[in-house]
Amino acid sequence: MTLDAAGLLAILPLLIIGAGTMAVMAAIAMKRNHKAAAALSFAAIIVALISAWMPSSVGTRAVTPLLTVDDYSRFFTTVLLVLSAGVILVSFAYLDTTAARREEYYLLLLTGTIGALVLPSASHYVALFLGIELLSIPLYALLAYLPHRERPLEAGLKYLVLAGASSAFLLFGIALLYAETGSMAFGAVAAGQLATPAMVLILVGLGFKLAIVPFHLWTADVYQGAPAPVGAFIATVSKGAVIAVTMRLLFESGALSWTAVRMLLMIMALGSMFAGNVLALMQTNVKRLLAYSSISHLGYVLMGIQIGGALAVRAVAFYVMAYTASVLLAFGVVSALSAGQKEPEELSELEGLFWTRPWMGVMLTLSMMSLAGVPLTVGFMGKYYLLAAGADSSAWLLSIGLVVTSAIGAYYYLRVVVAIYSSPPEPTQAYQRVTWPASFALMLATAVVLWLGVYPRLGLHRLDLAGSLRSAEQRSTATTR
C-alpha cells in the first residue's frame, strides 16, 4: 500500500505536530524565548486539532499497513490533543518559576504527543512499538526535567528501568506472535499454541505502561517525583493513548474472546480496582493519592474492555475522557499553585485552600467529586455508562467490584476535600498567583467535568467507535481467508 495524498491528509494531525516540533526546535536554536516556544507548541496542537476534523476526514482509511484512521482514532486523537494543550497551558506558569532552561520542555512534550497520537490509529505491532517508545523516551527526560531536585531524578530513573523492562516483554510477545502468524498486523489471526502466551506477554508490557495490578509498583513514586505538569501528562495523555491502543489490539486480534485473556483481564481489572483504592486510603500526599487512584480507575477501564461489545467501547471512550479531564484538573490545580521550588502536594499544605483561594478550592473539590463519582460530575456519568455496559452483558462480578471499590474510594477523595475546607493554618500557605493560561486550562477542564456531568450529549453515539474496531476485525478475517 503506497502513501497517497488522501492518506497524508488523514494523518495530518501527526504531520502537523511533527512540523510543530521542528519549528520549536528551530525557534530555540535561533533565540531562547519561553513564551514563543510555548505559544508555538500550543498553536501546533490547535492546528492539528482542527486538521483532525476537516470535512475530508470521514470513514475508515488504512494509511500504510501501520496506521488506520477511523472514527475511533479520530476520537482519541481529539481527546489526546486537547489534553496536551491543557498540559502545555498548565506547564507554562509552572516552568516560569521553577526551571532555568524551559524551552526544551516543549520539544519533549510535543515528541511525546506524536507518540501518543500514533497509538490510537496503530493497527500494526510496529506502529504500536514505535508509538510507545516515542511516548516513553521523552518522558524519561521530562520526569527528570528539574535536575536540581532529588525526587524527579529518582522518578525518571525508575520510569526508565521499568519502561525498558516492559518494552522487553512487549517485544518478546510480538516476536512470539510473529513466529506464530508471520504477520505483524493486529488483525492477523493466531490460533496456534504460542498465541496465548504471546498475547499475555504483550498485555504484561502494556500493563506496565498502564500501571495496572500487578505491574503498578512504580506508579506512586513516579507520580510523586514528577513535576506536577509532567505528572498530568503521564496520567492523561500517556494513559489515554495506551488504553486506546490496548482496546484496539484486543478487539482486532480477537484475543478478547480467548478464555485465558479474558480471565487475565478480569483478574487485572478486579485487582487494580481493589489494590488501587485500598492503597490510596492512607496516603497523605495528593500526588501519591492520585497515583493509586489512577490504578483503580484503570481497573474500571479494563473492566469496560473486558466486557467488550459496542456499549462497552463507548463507555470506555467516555470514561477515558471523564477520568483524564478530572485528573488534569487535579494536577492542574497543584501545579498552578506551585510556588518556586515547592509544590503544595501534602494534604497539610492544602488545608484551608478554599478559604484562601476559593476558586482553586472549588476546582480541586470538583475534581475529587468527579473522581469519586458523585452525580452531576462527569465521573459519575463515566461510571454509570460502565455499569450499564456491565449490566447489559451480565458482568456482575466486575460491576459489584466497581461499586464496592467506588465506595472505598469515596473515603480518600473526601480526605482531600476535608483538607480543602478545614480552617486555614497560621500563617497561611504561600501559593503561587495563578496565571491566565493556567486558569484558562483549569476553567476548560472544569467546564468539561460539569457540562458532561449534567448534560452528557456529546454526539458520541454519532461516532461509530465500536464499528471501527469490528470492521477492522472483519476485514482482517476476510483477507486471511
Binding site: 458523585v374 450499564a388 449490566a391 461499586v403 465506595a407 473526601l414
Partner: protein
C-alpha cells in the same frame, strides 16, 4: 401553574447561585436566603391549593428528555405521598434559615449556599419519577449535607461528616446497581410505567430478581432511615451538625429513606417485600425499643433526641411493612409529624446551646426559671413527641397501631411500648433540664427573643393543626397510599382481614381520612369507596 413544581424545585438553587455572586455582606446574604426560602414555601402552598385531593395520579407533571442513550428523563410530579413531604422541606428550610441567622457567623455565604442547595436536592428526591433522576437527587443531597456538618459542625465534625457520607454512599451505590439492573430488565427508568406494568402484570420480575433488587434498594433506604443495625452514623451526624443541619437531617433526610421504601420497595418488588416483611418488622420493633432505651441513658441532650429518632422511625418502618392501608397512611403522617416535632426539638436544643454552650444535661437544670417561654415551647414539643392527644404525633401513632393490629396483635403490643418509653425518656429529660434547682451559671440565661419565637410559633401551630385537623391532611394522602398497595397487589389480602375484624373503631377499608368518631357512624354504610371519593 404548569411550571409551579419546577419553580418550587429550582427556586432555592437559583437563590444559592445568586448568593455566590453577592459581596460578602452577611446581612444581605441572610436576607436573600430568607427571601428565596420563604418564596419557595409560599409557592409550595400553591401546590397544596392546586392539588386534586381525590386523585391517586401524579400531578403537576413535567416530562422532558434529559440524557439520550440510554434515555434518562427529567420527569417529576407530585402525589399524595410526596406532597406533604415537599411542604415539610420548604417549611423547615425557612425555619433553618431563621435559626442560623445569628448562630452562623463564619462563612455565612457558603452556609446559606449549601442550605439552599440541600433544599433543592431534597425536594428533588421526593418529586423524581425517573429512577436515575431520583438517584441523582439522592446523591446530590449528600454533598451539601456533608459540607454543612463538616464545616459548621462541632468538635468531631469531620469524623461525623465522613461517616455520614460513607454510610449513605455505600447504600446508594447498591441502589444504583439495582436501578441499572431494573433498566436492563425493563429497558426504561420510568418509575410510573414500570410500577404500572407490574401492577397490571404486563411486566414481571422473577423471584430471585425481586429478592436481590429489593435488597439493593432496601439497604440504601434502611441506612438512611436508619433501621436498627445501620443507624450508627446518625447520633454522630446529629450531634456534630449545626442546628440547621440537624433539623434538615432529622426533619427531611431521614424521611427520604422511609419515602423510598414506600415509593419503590413496595410497588416494585411486592413478593420480596412480603417475604422480607417479618424480618424487617422484627428489626423495626427492636429499633423502636432499643432507640428508646438508649435515649433514656444519654447524657447529651442532642444525642438523646437523635436516638429518639431511631425509635420513631422504627415505628414508621413498622407501619409501612404491615401492608395495611391505615398503617401506611399513619406511617406517612408520622413521617411528617416527626419532621415537625423533632425538627422543633433540635431547634430548641440549638437555642439552649447558643445560650449555655453545652449540651450536657447534667450541666442544665431549672432552666424554666430564667427562660419560661423556652421551657413552654420545649414542653409542647416534648409532649408532641410523646404522642399526646390533640397534638400531631398522636394521630400518626394511633393510625399505625390500629393498622398494625390487623396484621398481628403482638406487633401492636410491642410497638405501643414505644409510647410508654418515649414518655419516660422525654419527661425525665424535661425534668432534669427545666425543673429543679437553677445552677448559678444558668441564672441569667436570656429567654427567647422575638426572632426565636417567630421560628417556634409556626411549628407549634402546625403541631396543633395536624393534631386536630388531621382529616384535611389524610384526605390528600389517602388515595395515593391505597394506590401504592394496590399496585403491589398487596392490598386485597389485607382488605379481607380488616373486614374480618368487627372492631368499632375500624370501619371499611380506605377511609383513613375520616376520623374514627365519624367513621363509627359511617361504618353502617356498606361501601367504603363512596366515602373516599364523594
Amino acid at each position: 401553574m404548569r411550571n409551579l413544581l419546577n419553580v418550587v424545585l429550582f427556586l432555592p438553587s437559583v437563590g444559592a447561585l445568586l448568593l455566590l455572586f453577592l459581596p460578602r455582606r452577611p446581612s444581605a446574604i441572610r436576607i436573600i436566603a430568607l427571601v428565596f426560602s420563604l418564596a419557595t414555601f409560599v409557592l409550595s402552598l400553591g401546590l397544596l391549593a392546586g392539588f386534586q385531593a381525590s386523585s391517586a395520579e401524579m400531578q403537576f407533571i413535567t416530562d422532558k428528555a434529559w440524557i439520550q442513550s440510554p434515555t434518562i428523563r427529567y420527569y417529576i410530579g407530585v402525589d399524595g405521598i410526596s406532597l406533604f413531604l415537599v411542604l415539610l422541606v420548604t417549611f423547615l428550610s425557612v425555619l433553618c434559615v431563621l435559626v442560623s441567622w445569628r448562630s452562623v457567623q463564619e462563612h455565612v455565604k457558603e452556609f446559606f449556599f449549601f442550605l439552599l442547595l440541600l433544599e433543592t436536592g431534597t425536594i428533588g428526591v421526593f418529586l423524581a419519577l425517573d429512577l436515575l433522576l431520583f438517584y441523582v437527587f439522592w446523591e446530590v443531597t449528600l454533598v451539601p449535607m456533608y459540607f454543612l456538618i463538616g464545616i459548621w459542625g462541632h468538635e468531631r465534625r469531620i469524623y461525623a461528616a465522613v461517616k455520614f457520607f460513607l454510610y449513605t454512599s455505600i447504600g446508594s451505590l447498591l441502589m444504583l446497581v439495582g436501578i441499572i439492573w431494573l433498566h436492563n430488565v425493563f429497558g426504561t427508568f420510568d418509575y410510573l410505567s414500570i410500577s404500572h406494568g407490574i401492577a397490571i402484570g404486563a411486566l414481571k420480575l422473577s423471584y430471585p430478581q425481586q429478592f436481590w433488587l429489593f435488597l439493593a434498594f432496601f439497604v440504601a433506604f434502611a441506612i438512611k432511615v436508619p433501621l436498627f443495625p445501620l443507624h450508627t452514623w446518625l447520633p454522630d451526624a446529629h450531634v456534630e451538625a449545626p442546628t440547621a443541619g440537624s433539623v434538615m437531617l432529622a426533619g427531611v433526610l431521614l424521611k427520604m429513606g422511609a419515602y423510598g421504601m414506600l415509593r419503590f420497595c413496595l410497588p416494585l418488588f411486592p413478593d420480596a417485600a412480603q417475604h422480607f416483611a417479618p424480618a424487617i418488622i422484627a428489626l423495626a420493633i427492636f429499633g423502636i425499643i432499643y432507640g428508646a432505651l438508649v435515649s433514656m441513658v444519654q447524657p447529651d441532650l442532642k444525642k438523646l433526641i437523635a436516638y429518639s429518632s431511631v425509635s420513631h422511625l422504627g415505628f414508621v418502618v413498622l407501619g409501612i411493612f404491615c401492608f395495611n392501608e391505615i398503617a401506611i397512611a399513619g406511617a406517612l403522617y408520622q413521617m411528617i409529624n416527626h419532621g415537625v416535632s423533632t425538627g422543633m426539638l433540635f431547634l430548641l436544643v440549638g437555642m439552649i446551646y447558643e445560650r449555655s454552650h453545652t449540651r450536657e444535661i447534667s450541666r442544665m437544670g431549672g432552666l424554666a426559671t430564667p427562660a419560661p417561654a423556652l421551657a413552654t415551647y420545649f414542653l409542647i414539643a416534648s409532649l408532641s413527641s410523646i404522642g399526646l392527644p390533640l397534638l400531631n404525633n398522636f394521630v400518626g401513632e394511633f393510625l399505625i397501631l390500629v393498622g398494625v393490629k390487623q396484621a398481628r396483635l403482638l406487633y401492636t403490643v410491642l410497638g405501643a411500648t414505644a409510647a410508654v418509653l418515649s414518655a419516660i425518656y422525654m419527661l425525665w429529660m424535661y425534668q432534669r433540664v427545666f425543673l429543679g434547682e437553677t445552677a448559678d451559671h444558668n441564672k441569667h440565661m436570656p429567654d427567647l427573643n422575638a426572632r426565636e419565637k417567630l421560628i417556634l410559633f409556626p411549628a407549634v401551630a402546625l403541631m396543633v393543626i395536624m393534631g386536630i385537623f388531621s382529616p384535611y391532611f389524610l384526605r390528600r394522602i389517602d388515595a395515593s397510599t391505597a394506590a401504592i398497595l394496590n399496585k403491589g397487589g398487596l392490598a386485597p389480602k389485607q382488605h379481607v382481614r380488616i373486614n374480618d375484624t368487627p372492631h368499632p373503631f375500624v370501619g371499611s377499608p380506605g377511609t383513613v381520612s375520616v376520623p374514627w368518631v365519624s367513621k363509627r357512624m359511617h361504618s353502617a354504610h356498606p361501601s367504603g369507596d363512596s366515602e373516599r371519593r364523594p
